[in-house]
């Protein structure tokens, strides 16, 4: 029988619980309330949103289509006002009364606001949700902000705003930052790193009063009399489980809502998950255990046996540029000893806390590469008596029988968290690798692991090594070229995360070794900048290969070939006449039909290019981009118009596709084909993107090639309508534009990220539409005919800058 489930709070924990329920095919009817006016999103990614590395859309975990597909009734922006356990109903704010069979509390936490005088002034906020984040994002270099609280959250807020140029002061009451995760020495190093980022840090500073003006915050007053002026004051001093509603309903509540190992509260029809929960005296503030709880809760509802077990936790700081790790317990206590290692020159600090020859805690700063190994020692309670002298140096220094540094990673359980920023655990990464993601880039693309702050890159590589065994080649990190040590992927990430919008900025920030790059990196950078910042970046012709700079193919004798566009392969007698006339007029020695059904005029002199284009333009033709790393042609068959087998108008679709996609720049050339039936006369199955029309709709395949490699496409998705086909192909093209390495054709890129990953992106309607929208945006800038532009405005550059033949004759 269908169970009626009501969920209070669309947070990270409840979202995960619903996923488990639906994945298991549970027969449930879900109503989801959320006080925030939106659905589930990845709250921990608010920091990258604040820092400008991500947009809100990118951190949404469940979108409207997902809710609809799973039949979830969404009541976002609506608070649950009360619960009547006897009647088994909840009452919404507007008075609606809804019955439930099972109720799930996922109400999270409330940020704690210190009740200082002035805490209710305008401009005093917490750091918890998108609204808070947006207020912080509105700050710029002209603003001053004070953050109270030097813990993880406060520092992320401070670093995020500092990255936007905001003048930020962190006020912390304790003697050093993050005192719950770090010892004094590591806290000192962290403080130094933050100060280097331009953040002012005041420790042992006691806030006394928040001063306002016209109801709005003006400054923070410390008890030593210091006044810190500010336009915004962020309080990030802690959270309290949000239990008011549960307590009113009469559930057993301590610090949080009491639950048993099955996540059931004191009422057997009511479960609770997430930060609002108290389990065996513990409350929770990190995602990893919440995800475990979510799974258990789903299993409980499904009637399966499951029990939530608390595990050892570790912390990594996400603030970019601060490599920091802590795990276990590192407080001083009787019977505990420390082993400390410092290398002030490199800013490296490591401390192990040992009790009875077992490591119980660790704090690392500056070099956290071995953190997985140390965490393993803690988790497994390894006896370190034998390696006591060298344990601090890490796995590489364990003499005798050499300790395999990978053994620790191999021993990690599947649910060990590897990437803190994104909450990705080892199992997810292993699955991705087994699904075909064969290197770091691919794992990053498929799972997002190590894609945010990157501190776990080393760990992810170790997981790769362990999973792939002999197949693993440690990325000899192929740099783009001799001008840099960075890979294409590294540079792409830098361009995005640091918002590098000019070639100079890339050279500067990525420490290029040459003055202005070379013929290998410059075209790649020019492409990446265009793809990522279509509106802001100005195309640099001098960083393009001659074919693209002069919009024609250079031939071996220095002449060029010219190919006008013929939409979908269709032409007219008038166009043919114009082409013939142009061939005569400019002494074109060879006229050839290309493999993509277009006409190629070969052997045109460089000086003549602007005039031959002008003539072809006059006849209504535009550049065919036969020279570009961009959309070349859409090859078509005759389809329903004439063919007795045609199921759809393949020519018409080819024309529409070519009109939608022409002019776009892509990592490599892009060729499309559309066939009207499986007889496939347009050879659509060996194109980068191919469409085969069938009775029921359109089969879209990708990754075909018929060049140096010959490959058949793999089926990406089947869709019913022409409109959908076009959106899918736009989205597909944009995904390729945003992710592939320059000069990788789709099939090469597909081999790296895996078809499944691509398919998931394209199958997800929200992601698909967002990709297509970004494609369209770029087209507003780049869909233009370069021939017309050059023939009119730049004809001069095709001519010699001076002619001395006459002079010499004198």
């Amino acid at each position: 029988m269908t169970q009626n489930i009501i969920v209070i709070g669309a947070g990270m924990a409840s979202g995960r619980a619903l996923e488990h329920l639906f994945d298991a095919g549970a027969d449930v009817n879900v109503t989801l309330f959320n006080a925030e006016p939106r659905g589930n999103y990845n709250r921990i990614m608010l920091s990258p949103v604040l820092a400008g590395d991500k947009t809100y859309e990118e951190i949404v975990t469940h979108d409207a289509e997902w809710y609809e597909a799973n039949g979830v009734t969404c009541r976002f922006g609506e608070r649950v006002a009360s619960v009547d356990r006897a009647a088994k109903t909840v009452t919404a704010e507007n008075g609606d009364v809804l019955p439930y069979d099972k109720l799930i509390f996922g109400t999270g936490s409330n940020p704690f606001m210190i009740p200082l005088p002035g805490h209710d002034l305008d401009g005093v906020i917490a750091y918890r949700d998108l609204e808070d984040t947006e207020l912080m994002m509105a700050m710029g270099p002209q603003n001053k902000v004070v953050v109270i609280g030097g813990g993880l959250l406060g520092l992320e807020a401070a670093a995020g705003m500092a990255a936007r140029g905001v003048d930020v002061t962190v006020v912390h009451i304790m003697g050093h930052l993050m005192e719950r995760q770090l010892d004094e020495a590591a806290g000192y190093l962290l403080r130094k790193a933050l100060v280097d980022k331009g953040i002012t840090v005041l420790c042992q500073a006691n806030s006394k009063e928040i001063l306002g003006h016209d109801g709005k915050v003006r400054a923070l007053l410390l008890d030593d009399g210091t006044e810190l002026p500010c336009d915004l004051l962020v309080m990030a001093v802690g959270i309290r489980p949000n239990v008011a509603l549960a307590a009113e309903a009469g559930l057993a509540v301590g610090k949080g809502i009491h639950v048993d190992d099955q996540m059931v509260t004191s009422d057997e029809s009511i479960l609770a998950v997430g930060e609002c929960v108290e389990h065996n005296g513990a409350i929770f503030g990190l995602v990893a255990p919440l995800y475990d709880q979510a799974k258990v809760a789903a299993q409980t509802i499904l009637g399966e046996e499951a029990a939530f077990v608390q595990k050892e936790l570790s912390t990594k700081l996400k603030v970019t540029g601060c490599d920091l790790f802590s795990a276990g317990d590192f407080a001083d206590a009787e019977g505990r000893e420390d082993i400390v290692f410092r290398d002030p020159g490199r800013g490296v600090y490591r401390r192990l806390v040992i009790e009875d020859n077992v490591v119980v805690g660790t704090v690392m700063y500056g070099d956290t590469a071995d953190s997985g190994w140390f965490f393993g020692l803690i988790r497994d309670k390894t006896d370190i008596a034998e390696m006591r002298d060298t344990v601090i140096f890490g796995p590489a220094y364990q003499g005798g029988a050499p300790v395999d540094p990978l053994a620790a990673v191999a021993a990690l359980p599947r649910d060990a968290e590897i990437c803190g920023c994104n909450g990705i655990c080892k199992g997810t990464i292993v699955d991705a690798i087994e699904g075909g993601a064969g290197d770091l880039t691919a794992v990053r693309a498929v799972t997002k692991a190590s894609g945010s702050c990157g501190t776990c890159t080393g760990l992810v590589e170790q997981v790769l090594a362990v999973t792939l065994g002999d197949d693993f080649v440690l990325p000899g990190a192929q740099p783009i070229c001799g001008c840099t040590d960075m890979t294409h992927e590294d540079v792409r990430r830098m361009i995005k995360s640091q918002e590098l919008k000019s070639m100079d900025a890339v050279w500067q920030e990525c420490a290029w070794k040459t003055r202005d790059g070379c013929h290998v990196c410059r075209p790649a950078l020019n492409y990446y900048l265009i793809a990522d910042w279509p509106l802001e970046y100005l195309d640099d012709p001098q960083s393009r290969f001659i074919n693209e700079r002069k919009h024609a193919n250079i031939q071996k004798d220095g002449t060029f070939s010219v190919v006008p566009r013929m939409w979908g392969g269709i032409t007219t007698p008038d166009e043919l006449r114009a082409i013939a006339d142009a061939a005569d007029k400019y002494d074109v020695p060879t006229v050839k039909v290309t493999g993509g059904q277009r006409i190629d005029l070969l052997g045109v002199k460089g000086e003549d290019l602007p005039s031959i284009w002008a003539d072809l333009n006059d006849a209504g033709m535009v550049s065919g981009h036969a020279y570009s790393k961009g959309l070349r042609t859409v090859k078509t068959c005759v389809g329903t118009d004439h063919c007795r087998f045609g199921t759809q108008d393949s020519t018409g679709l080819g024309i529409k596709l070519e009109k939608a996609l022409w002019g776009s720049w892509t990592p490599h050339k892009l060729k499309l084909g559309v066939s009207g039936c499986p007889r496939n006369c347009a050879e659509a199955t060996c194109k980068d993107i191919g469409v085969v029309c069938v009775d029921s709709g359109f089969q879209v395949g990708i990754g075909g090639a018929a060049g140096m490699d010959v490959r058949e496409v793999e089926r990406l998705i089947d869709v019913e309508t022409e409109e959908e086909t076009i959106v899918v192909i736009k989205a597909m093209t944009q995904l390729y534009r945003e992710n592939a390495k320059y000069l990788d054709r789709i099939y090469k890129w597909m081999n790296k990220v895996g078809l499944d990953w691509i398919r998931e992106r394209i199958a997800d309607p929200a992601e698909r539409d967002a990709l297509a929208a970004r494609f369209d945006l770029s087209q507003t800038v780049y869909q233009k005919d370069p021939w017309a532009e050059h023939a009119q405005k730049k004809a001069a550059i095709y001519r010699p800058v001076a002619n001395l033949t006459l002079e010499a004759a004198e």
Binding site: H519, S543, V801
Partner: protein, 111 residues
């Protein structure tokens, strides 16, 4: 003896770009670097006569558009593992104008 002649404005050539000057003995490529230095070289790659003026200019070198040989604009020498040299001619900038030395240009067929 030198005989400087004004062939064009510096701005007629884009930074990191080149244009050709036609002479009776064939084309000479005039390059302008990012630092606004100018160089004049035969517009012919020693490999298979690729038109150097169409190449990508970087640092003080150009990459031939046909097969990516890299040629020093200062010496005309081919860089890296390949071998060969392109003739170079005196060139300079004065008051925003590019000057070439015609005596050298004309002497080149004789050489």
């Amino acid at each position: 003896m030198t005989d400087w002649i004004d062939i064009a404005a510096l701005d007629d050539i884009p930074q990191r770009g080149a244009r050709v000057v036609k002479t009776r003995q064939g084309c000479v490529a005039v390059f302008r670097t990012a630092a606004d230095e100018v160089f004049a070289l035969d517009n012919t790659c020693p490999h298979k006569q690729g038109p150097l003026a169409e190449g990508i200019v970087h640092g003080s070198a150009v990459t031939c558009p046909l097969h990516n040989w890299v040629i020093s604009l200062e010496t005309g020498l081919v860089q890296g593992n390949d071998e060969g040299q392109v003739a170079t001619y005196p060139a300079r900038v004065e008051g925003g104008r590019i000057l070439l030395d015609t005596t050298f240009l004309q002497a080149r067929t004789a050489a």
